[in-house]
């Protein structure tokens, strides 16, 4: 194992490691543009030049492999001068677009200019004009003038996605990134290009001009788009003066070697819009005649409790059906199970609506099962206790089930509106609890607004049985509440008390009672999640 010295610090690394990786171990960041930890090094930008003792010329840290007894300087005058020259060179034709550039504030060119260069331009000639606002496809815009030709985008599409839609055309300072005629970007991973590009040359249309990056808060979360459970950062803003600016602006990938590396698919990346959709349910409402009236939580709980009790007394627990959704967190689902199944002895609980996991997977990140917590629902036992969800709907249609409680699920999406209409219109009581309006709400006697994944704390269990944590980035919209809190409130109104103050308390009980979760707590789950110890893989 070679041992080398970087800036007077000793480090031992595996053979074959490059200087930039070895430096990272020591928390020394070597500035770079074209190098990306998940792409092959190509030595294109020359930004990572460092001095190696006894080698007359500066070496590129991204591709020079370490040797035993190597002595590297990453910050001496020679290196700083080279860095400054590289920056000066990169900025020759660069436009002064920072005020209107979406990357500003998180741009590596801006950052390194202020950190290392701060030169005034010596360039007297005319700047090279290139194409601006070039549409590369439905999701990405290119500004060739801002491009520093690091080829990260080209290599990403070649090495990671494999579609190779982008290329570098022309020569010298005329070089430009571009697509081939008639082949726009169409792959499901192009959203990553805006993250991969170190400057503002490739920007996302979804985020274009929506917000300056420095107004955004970031919170660790998990993508709710499919059962892979990619790790994401939720960028949101809740500026105090204007409530309408409370929204999620974008999701970006968060590194996790075990799950999504550094990438995110577009289905998940742009799937957050339901959070700020106008169809969000914001206040508990009760049906009075044909109208819905907004009420406070206490009134809603009392009414639902009273009607549930009425049905209990007249019929039996088997006249009640619950359909939870695998979009809910483990904590929410645990509450559903604990209250409806274990306390009220209802066995008609199932989340598997016909076709629930039949999306289109792509073999890389996107899975056919578009629910983030199917595994969790499975492990917590929300299926296989009684009839399948499809049968519950059918039984409602036949009048065997008198009351239906939907927790976040959207049965019309899978079974069609007609079927749902004929079933739900026969039920004596339909309660819809969820974040967004869907077809089933039309028949609901009570609507209880739930919080979305960015508005609550909790955990998802992905398809590899990895428990990962979501954190609260925004306050719940309007009067909506996390689903577990709604069930807690309903239970209390019906006379059952559960001692939970936070999602964490529920997780402690999950850890105590559910196989695979034993010994876990939020601290152990951490930012990167933890794989459950399940027998048989």
């Amino acid at each position: 194992m070679p041992t080398l010295v970087i800036d007077d610090q000793k480090v031992t690394v595996d053979p074959g490691t490059t200087i930039i990786q070895a430096a990272k171990k020591l928390d020394i960041t070597i500035p770079h543009y074209c190098y990306h930890p998940r792409l092959k090094s190509v030595d294109m930008c020359r930004m990572c030049l460092v001095e190696v003792k006894d080698i007359p010329k500066l070496q590129t840290a991204c591709s020079t492999q370490v040797r035993d007894n190597m002595v590297v300087f990453t910050n001496n005058q020679k290196v700083l001068d080279a860095r400054r020259s590289v920056l000066e060179f990169l900025l020759i034709n660069h436009p002064l677009d920072c005020p209107i550039c979406d990357k500003a504030g998180e741009c590596m060119l801006q950052d390194f200019y202020f950190q290392f260069s701060r030169h005034t331009s010596k360039f007297k000639e005319k700047k090279q004009k290139k194409h601006k606002v070039v549409n590369l496809g439905p999701k990405i815009v290119l500004d060739s003038e801002r491009c520093i030709l690091c080829a990260r985008c080209v290599r990403f599409l070649k090495e990671v996605v494999g579609t190779e839609e982008l290329g570098i055309f022309d020569r010298g300072d005329h070089s430009e990134i571009g697509i081939y005629p008639g082949r726009p970007l169409e792959n499901n991973y192009q959203g990553n290009l805006a993250d991969v590009c170190p400057v503002g040359a490739l920007t996302a249309k979804d985020f274009r001009f929506a917000c300056r990056s420095w107004f955004l808060c970031q919170e660790n979360s998990i993508c709710p788009g499919c059962s892979t459970g990619c790790n994401v950062l939720v960028h949101s803003s809740e500026r105090s003066y204007d409530k309408t600016l409370r929204r999620v602006y974008r999701l970006t990938p968060r590194d996790n070697d075990e799950v999504n590396q550094s990438w995110l698919c577009d289905v998940g990346r742009y799937g957050y819009h339901f959070v700020d959709d106008p169809d969000r349910l914001t206040a508990p409402s009760l049906k009075r005649g044909e109208e819905y009236v907004k009420v406070d939580w206490d009134t809603a709980f009392r009414e639902v409790a009273q009607r549930l009790r009425g049905i209990f007394e007249r019929y039996s627990p088997s006249s009640l059906g619950i359909i939870p959704s695998p979009q809910l967190t483990n904590e929410d689902l645990y509450m559903v199970k604990k209250f409806f199944n274990e306390t009220l002895c209802i066995t008609n609980i199932d989340f598997k609506l016909p076709g629930w996991n039949q999306g289109q997977g792509d073999g890389f990140l996107l899975k056919a099962d578009r629910n983030p917590n199917t595994m969790g629902a499975e492990l917590l036992g929300l299926s296989g206790i009684g009839p399948q969800a499809g049968e519950i709907i059918e039984k409602t249609r036949l009048g065997e089930i008198k009351a239906l409680y939907l927790v976040g699920s959207d049965p019309a999406r899978y079974l069609g509106e007609e079927k749902i209409a004929s079933a739900l219109s026969r039920a004596q009581l339909v309660v819809f609890q969820g974040s967004n309006y869907n077809y089933a709400c039309k028949f609901a006697h009570a609507i209880l607004p739930g919080a979305t994944f960015v508005e609550k704390e909790g955990t998802f269990t992905n398809a590899q049985a990895r428990v990962q944590k979501i954190n609260q980035a925004l306050r719940p919209l309007g009067e909506s509440l996390p689903d577990w809190k709604i069930i807690l409130g309903l239970a209390l109104t019906m006379g059952y008390y559960f001692p939970y103050k936070a999602a964490e308390d529920i997780f402690k009980d999950i850890a105590r009672e559910v196989t695979g979760f034993s010994g876990l707590d939020y601290k152990k789950v951490g930012d990167k999640g933890i794989k459950l110890a399940l027998s048989g893989g």
């Binding site: 002064l96 209107i100 001009f209 929506a210 300056r212 500026r239 003066y241 204007d242």
Partner: protein, 191 residues
């Protein structure tokens, strides 16, 4: 900390004497001003000043050239705002009273423009930092105006149309270009 107290004397303690003293001061000012104002009217004693009340808003006192009044947004030759919606003024504003919504401009050479630009003058602390932050000669506080009163708070949130209509007070202009002049397309590269 040292507390400097003032101990009331006997005369001050009985109040009556102080009331009379106050009346004397007021009366003296009254007659002094009346005498000199009449004298001024008749053309005498012009070099002695008497107290004046300015009849605001009919009358205003001239302000300094550096004085910061109601904001205005400078315009291009076609009358559209020069602002490129960079939100630097919104960022720097210490009281967060500027709200901008940006959108894509159909002309790629302009690219970004504000669809809505609001300054809440009830919150503004008139620090002038927005003026300094602007990279494109767009926001200025040289209109020489004091905001008028309004019937509602919303009356005092000035929108893009109001702000672009404002012009600098003659002789007070601080922008490089007067409204409606300068380069037709302002991107941050060329004013």
């Amino acid at each position: 900390m040292k507390i400097v107290g003032h101990k009331l004397s006997f005369l001050e303690n009985i109040y009556l004497f102080e009331i009379v003293r106050g009346l004397v001061i007021t009366t003296r000012h009254f007659f002094y001003n009346m005498f000199f104002h009449i004298a001024h009217l008749l053309g005498y004693q012009q070099d002695v000043e008497a107290a004046v009340t300015i009849q605001y808003p009919e009358q205003t006192i001239p302000v300094s050239k550096r004085w910061r009044g109601v904001h205005r947004i400078n315009t291009r030759p076609d009358g559209s705002p020069r602002c490129v919606a960079c939100m630097l003024c919104e960022t720097v504003c210490p009281v967060q009273c500027i709200h901008i919504v940006a959108e894509e401009h159909p002309d790629p050479a302009i690219e970004k423009y504000p669809v809505s630009f609001e300054v809440d003058v009830t919150r503004c602390c008139w620090c002038g930092m927005c003026e300094e932050a602007c990279p494109v000669d767009a926001i200025y506080m040289d209109s020489g105006k004091i905001p008028k009163a309004g019937y509602s708070r919303q009356d005092l949130v000035y929108d893009k149309e109001t702000l672009t209509k404002e012009v600098p007070l003659p002789g007070y202009q601080r922008s490089l270009n007067p409204p409606g002049a300068g380069a037709p397309k302002v991107n941050p590269m060329g004013l």
